[in-house]
């Protein structure tokens, strides 16, 4: 039995590439597809035929994806690169317990590196600089593990920060 809504969701997921694209674009395309499907079912087609014709009329999938890619903001590109990177590493959908363990191990390694470097560089004056660099580098595995456990992506981290600043500005 053909499920129109399911078919619609699957199609949008495929064309709008990944979860980096927000729901807004999917809602707009869905409204368009429903308009065409309503017209075609009124003309006598069944839902599946109408759905197939409506998606075909939208154009070649490759052309559509290329058009959408032109509009991608830098943030979406970062998010997509992050998703690709995770899938290449095959560490997508890591379970939260395992992710927590990895976070602890990484935290211990970086903490040790910070301690050792500050001890070794105590007389050179470069200690604080190296410590800042190490803290910055720590963010990389931290956000990768976080994203792989499905908690956050670069986009959600950024949006969280943006909302925070917006709220702070409003409060001022």
């Amino acid at each position: 039995m053909f499920q129109l809504e399911q078919a619609m969701d699957n199609w949008c997921d495929r064309i709008l590439v990944n979860r980096c694209n927000n729901q807004v674009k999917a809602d707009e395309i869905k409204d368009h597809l429903y308009c065409v499907i309503e017209r075609l079912t009124d003309e006598g087609l069944d839902e599946q035929q109408a759905f197939n014709a409506a998606t075909r009329q939208l154009g070649e999938a490759d052309d559509l994806m290329a058009e959408y890619a032109k509009n991608k903001a830098l943030l979406n590109k970062v998010c997509e690169a992050e998703q690709t990177f995770l899938s290449k590493l095959r560490i997508k959908n890591m379970n939260p317990k395992k992710a927590g363990m990895y976070q602890t191990v990484v935290a211990l390694i970086f903490a040790a590196a910070i301690l050792v470097s500050s001890y070794l560089l105590k007389d050179t004056g470069h200690g604080p600089t190296i410590m800042l660099i190490l803290v910055g580098l720590w963010c990389i595995p931290f956000s990768i593990i976080n994203a792989s456990s499905g908690k956050h992506s670069a986009r959600s981290e950024f949006e969280c920060l943006r909302n925070y600043f917006r709220k702070t500005q409003q409060a001022d």
Partner: protein, 109 residues
């Protein structure tokens, strides 16, 4: 039947969309239907290509969008022409008219 090429369709998409919106707010499907009718089916314009164009025009602040509700109760995104869009439309109309003028002059050569 004579048809308008993909390249020409892409080049004319901005003035067409801006022109349609200059007559009032509209949404994707209605804009596409209007283009089909205006071109008597000659415009080779894949339906889906309109949306990225609308998003680009919105990004350039030539148009703006807002969500409304269709008569079926579905969420629908409408587009409205902005002042900068109207200015751009006048500019584009001038360019197309001058191109048309050039072709007309060459016809007589």
């Amino acid at each position: 039947m004579m048809s308008i090429s993909k390249d020409l369709a892409a080049a004319s998409s901005t003035p067409l969309v801006l022109s349609i919106l200059s007559h009032g707010d509209s949404y994707g499907y209605a804009i596409i239907q209007q283009v089909h009718e205006l071109s008597d089916g000659q415009m080779e314009w894949a339906d889906g290509m309109l949306y990225p164009i609308l998003h680009r025009l919105e990004k350039k602040k030539l148009i703006e969008s807002y969500w409304g509700t269709a008569e079926t109760g579905r969420k629908r995104k409408y587009y409205r022409l902005l002042q900068a869009g109207l200015k751009e439309l006048h500019e584009q109309r001038k360019n197309w008219a001058s191109l048309h003028g050039m072709l007309r002059k060459l016809e007589g050569v």
